[in-house]
Amino acid sequence: MMLWIRARRPWWMAGALVLMLGIDRLVGELALSVPALFGGGVNFVFLRTYLPLIWAAAIADSFAGRGLSIEARPTLLASMPVSRLGLLDAGLFVVASSTAAVLFSGLQPGGLSAVAPVLVLSGVACIGTLQAGPAVGAFASTMLMLLTSIYPRNAPAARFIHILQPDGEPAWSTACGFVVCLAAAGMLATNSALTRLRAAEVSAL
């Protein structure tokens, strides 16, 4: 169990959560002026829109198994049944991401609709990490944030593309968040994380 905790580095997750909430509390309402083409209707974006990327980076880091050296990884795999490892990973992911989403949205006026960005980015970062490594997980979530941010408000279906932005369709964004998170949890439960633990990882250097 200790090896698993070391592998997943929950303290980094907690640190990222504290950092995200702290920045949100201190400067989250800082309005970044942007061209009206992709501003929130009144050509500004709140800094807090981008903060869930901090959490996504923590998720990518955690499920890469970088907390354990290459030599220690066989010991973890030998000491814990594969099915249990999958369930623990999925549980950690669901609990940590839900907690982060609820705490993050609790600070905001939009209420529960603000859970969507955290859920979506957690799921995308996790799936990217399991498929191709933590750097790709972080890149995927960053690109999703970037592309949805600059998608013009007057372009077709903008409300449904802005799943990470406050002006998106809340029900659709939240549904996307749940689906992506479920997919990520499913991958973890079915032991996709093993691939990462077995990989001689240079991905996140």
Binding site: S33, L37, A57, D61, A135, I150, V202
Partner: protein, 410 residues
């Protein structure tokens, strides 16, 4: 590393076409084209908002682990050469791709110093974004470097144009330039180029040593911070010492000469790119002048863009201006010239403009959509009176001019 292998390994083979497609699509979102390459390129440089953060993130992603890979190499080759041989497809390909995307989106080929300056700024911005992405991946773990590089560039490039800080506006690689009459301010171009050069050359120097792969990560992070601060310092110093006035759009009036031609006894002075509109404008005025004369109003002898001549009617004739807009432009310019006031507004001024617009041959519906039904009704009423006594229209027009309340430009 062979060129083909470098292109495949760097990911440029799929990343650059994707970046080209997205940047040109995004750059083409603003569809008003003036026909002035510097203005159209400045507008289409909107692709930069996407290309700079995307390149920084992708470079950080691809460069991860490279320092560890080359660390055991013999210490005879410059680190910069090693990096260039492996990563030239991204370091040079991404800026070139953006410049091509901007030119395609603008539908323009640079033809003067301002337009080329904008292309160079775009090139240098994406090159610097790629190098900072590289430096971030060198200094930090990739999970931090990738989002950090992308978000810093997004915030810098995207939030600058709408901020109220003069220095940010004149250093942020974007220009609020969108008409034939204004061009990017050269002082802003110089300052921005120096900022970008200091950062990119600094990262180049950091890489230059054959021992660069052995520089500790915290030192790289510190050096990067110093370079960014130093770059800003140089940029701000250039802006402050230039003595030139700064503005929030980082633009200045276009000073290149107009192309003048006399046709049908009307002198028409337009920007060179609008020369093909000369005949149409001259024909319109030659039809309008007899009507003005019959109504006892002054005739038009000279038209100009950019309000260059005090005695000429100022007109709009850019590539995005329709035939109807051109007629309205002549009407507005005529009223402005006659009243000696470019800042007038209100219904009485609209009535005068509507009258001249109707005389240029525009249908009442076309004028109503621009100046409202009240202005058109007033103008039509005056014209109806003119059926019996043409001079009455001229008197009505002169009284209208006298009653205009001129608002000085802000």
């Amino acid at each position: 590393m062979t060129p083909v292998r470098a292109i495949v390994r760097s990911g440029a083979a799929w990343f650059l076409p994707l970046m080209f497609a997205l940047s040109s699509w995004y750059g083409a979102r603003i569809t008003f084209r003036s026909g002035y390459p510097a203005s159209d390129i400045a507008q289409s440089s909107l692709g930069l908002y996407l290309a700079a953060p995307m390149t920084a993130a992708f470079m950080a992603l691809q460069y991860r682990g490279f320092t560890h890979l080359i660390r055991p190499l013999r210490l005879t080759r410059s680190g910069l050469l090693v990096v260039l041989r492996a990563w030239w497809p991204l370091l040079l390909g991404a800026p070139t791709t953006l410049c091509l995307a901007v030119a395609v989106a603008a539908g323009a080929v640079p033809n003067d110093r301002s337009a080329w300056s904008l292309i160079i700024i775009n090139f240098m911005t994406v090159l610097t974004a790629a190098l900072t992405g590289l430096a971030c991946a060198w200094a930090l773990p990739a999970v931090v470097a990738v989002p950090l590089a992308a978000m810093l560039w997004l915030v810098w490039v995207a939030s600058g144009p709408a901020s109220t800080n003069l220095l940010v506006h004149n250093l942020d690689s974007t220009f609020g330039c969108c008409s034939s009459d204004i061009r990017p301010a050269m002082v802003a171009i110089r300052a921005t180029l120096l900022l970008l050069l200091v950062i990119s050359l600094g990262i180049g120097c950091l890489l230059a040593s054959s021992r660069s792969a052995r520089i500790p990560r915290p030192l790289v992070a510190t050096a990067l911070t110093v370079l960014v601060v130093g770059g800003f310092g140089v940029g701000v110093a250039v802006l402050h010492t230039s003595g030139e006035p700064l503005n929030l759009t980082a633009t200045e009036p276009r000073t290149t000469p107009l192309a003048c031609r006399t046709e049908q006894r009307v002198e028409v002075c337009l920007w060179p790119e609008n020369r093909d509109r000369t005949a149409a404008l001259a024909a319109m005025v030659s039809h309008l002048n007899p009507k003005l004369q019959r109504l006892g109003m002054d005739t038009i002898h000279s038209l100009t863009q950019a309000n260059r001549k005090r005695e000429a009617v100022s007109v709009e004739a850019g590539a995005g201006i329709s035939e109807q807009d051109m007629r309205v432009g002549v009407a507005v310019g005529y009223v402005d010239l006659q009243s000696g006031c470019r800042g007038a507004s209100g219904t009485s001024r609209d009535q005068l403009v509507a009258l001249v617009a109707l005389l240029t041959g525009l249908r009442p519906d076309d004028v109503t959509s621009r100046f409202g039904p009240r202005a058109v009704a007033g103008a039509e009423k005056a014209l109806a009176q003119g059926q019996e006594s043409p001079e009455a229209v001229g008197v009505w027009f002169s009284e209208g001019l006298r009653n205009l309340q001129c608002v000085p430009p802000q």
